[in-house]
């Protein structure tokens, strides 16, 4: 049997993380005033923007990673030969 190097593309994972990511952004932008009011209080409330950044980077980071993989843009398979 011929060897195939074709990997299954993570379309499902991309869709799930994409929907979650859109959901996070929709939530943030549709509650802008409330978010600004609470996050702008300073002090211990500083943990909120930091936590938000971590959550967004986790979900949206996974989505963008899958996005390029699905498009077929991945790291070089092996180190290039020296010419």
């Amino acid at each position: 049997m011929a060897y195939s190097s074709v990997k299954k593309k993570p379309v499902g994972k991309m869709l799930v993380t994409g929907i979650l990511s859109i959901g996070l952004y929709a939530m943030l932008l549709s509650n802008q005033d409330k978010v600004n009011e609470i996050f702008g209080k300073g002090g211990w409330y500083a943990l909120l923007p930091i936590a938000t950044a971590f959550v967004f980077s986790f979900i949206h980071g996974m989505f963008t990673g899958h996005f390029w993989t699905v498009l077929g843009i991945e790291a070089a398979k092996k180190k290039k030969e020296v010419k």
């Binding site: 943030l28 802008q32 702008g40 300073g42 980077s57 843009i73 290039k80």
Partner: protein
């Protein structure tokens, strides 16, 4: 620093143009950061200010997108074995001290000489650092390219070899990027300078990456990847500091992050296709172009301080516009070189694979 109540009133109304602009600049900045370890901030901060965001809030919001972006980039590049986490964390801690000291100097200059004095200090720092370091990096990249040895493994320079040879008992630490032990006493001033530059011109990597390459002897690819760890540590500390004063506009940070995470993944992938000297090319080109951009602003601030003849309003507007346009050009050119390198690298990679398959190697 502003208090929280004042900061709340400074949140701007976002429209679709703002969203697209921040997303776009975020993408390009992320692409360059994923490749050379830093970049983008010098366009993002003035860009946000032109939208009506107060200066300090623009700096804070930029910083709050920088640390999660750097985290994602560092994780991606760690998968390729390019990150020296230990070196990044050690440099990151001293960089954090540099950020605090740099911010303190900025505050003192602003208190003594006002906004124009502070802007002049930033511009002069830009011009001096970028001329010295950027010129050196670009010259080295050109020399490496012309020598025909650009495919060979990078060798540590004379200074790095000396630093690697110094043994100070009780301070020696092994770093995988250097494949040897060096005294952490050498890393402290480098991290500190990186942090000071980050606090002054928002791009610490212009010191951090070249110092890891030329002073410590790290390969370019590993230096640019490790810079992401430093950027994460600095960005997290800085964001927390600004957020405690209610200065982070999380909407701006997260919209920039939306674009920059697409960019940073692509930039990181790009590093697996290129020869190491390309990191120096992109970094050197950006640094030298930005140098001209900031250089144009020096007469404006000198005039505002009364140190030279007063410039006309039209001249000031022209200089400001050209300066910003050159800065945008620097970032776009950097992104273009990265994309072109990825494009060529992928084509060569495919050709190699096809050849290998034809010869029955795969």
């Amino acid at each position: 620093m502003h208090d929280a109540a004042a900061a709340v009133s400074n949140f701007i109304d976002l429209n679709l143009i703002h969203l697209l602009y921040l997303f776009g600049v975020g993408f390009v900045g992320g692409l360059v950061s994923g490749f050379i370890g830093s970049g983008g901030a010098f366009v993002l901060t003035p860009g946000m200010m032109s939208m009506g965001v107060p200066g300090l809030m623009a700096v804070a919001s930029n910083m709050c997108h920088k640390f999660p972006k750097a985290l994602v980039g560092a994780i991606k590049r760690a998968k390729y074995g390019q990150v020296d986490v230990k070196l990044g964390l050690i440099l990151g801690v001293s960089a954090e001290a540099g950020v605090l000291y740099g911010a303190h100097i900025q505050e003192r200059i602003k208190a003594a000489f006002g906004d124009a004095g502070s802007n002049l200090y930033v511009s002069v720092a830009f011009v001096v650092v970028l001329a010295l370091v950027g010129g050196f990096v670009l010259r080295d990249a050109i020399r490496e390219y012309r020598s025909g040895n650009s495919n060979e493994e990078e060798k540590a320079g004379r200074l790095a070899r000396w630093i690697q040879s110094v043994n100070i008992p009780g301070t020696m630490v092994y770093f995988k990027s250097l494949n040897t032990r060096i005294s952490i006493l050498f890393t402290i001033p480098l991290g500190f300078a990186t942090g000071m530059l980050a606090a002054t011109i928002a791009v610490g990597g212009f010191i951090g990456v070249p110092s890891m390459i030329y002073v410590l002897g790290a390969p370019s690819i590993m230096a640019s990847a490790t810079e992401l760890v430093i950027a994460f540590v600095m960005g997290l500390g800085g964001s927390l500091k600004y957020a405690m004063h209610g200065l982070v506009d999380i909407r701006l940070s997260m919209i920039i992050l939306a674009g920059s995470l697409f960019g940073i993944q692509l930039g990181a992938i790009g590093t697996t296709y290129v020869k190491p000297f390309m990191i120096k090319v992109v970094m050197g080109v950006i640094m030298v172009i930005v140098l001209f951009s900031r250089g144009l602003m020096v007469p404006v601030y000198l005039s505002q301080l009364g140190l030279i003849q007063k410039l006309g309003d039209n001249t000031v507007t022209l200089l400001k516009t050209v300066s910003f346009a050159i800065m945008v050009l620097a970032l776009l050119l950097g992104a273009f070189i990265v994309l072109r390198a990825i494009w060529h690298g992928r084509r060569e990679d495919r050709l190699l694979q096809t050849e290998a398959m034809e010869h029955g190697k795969i």
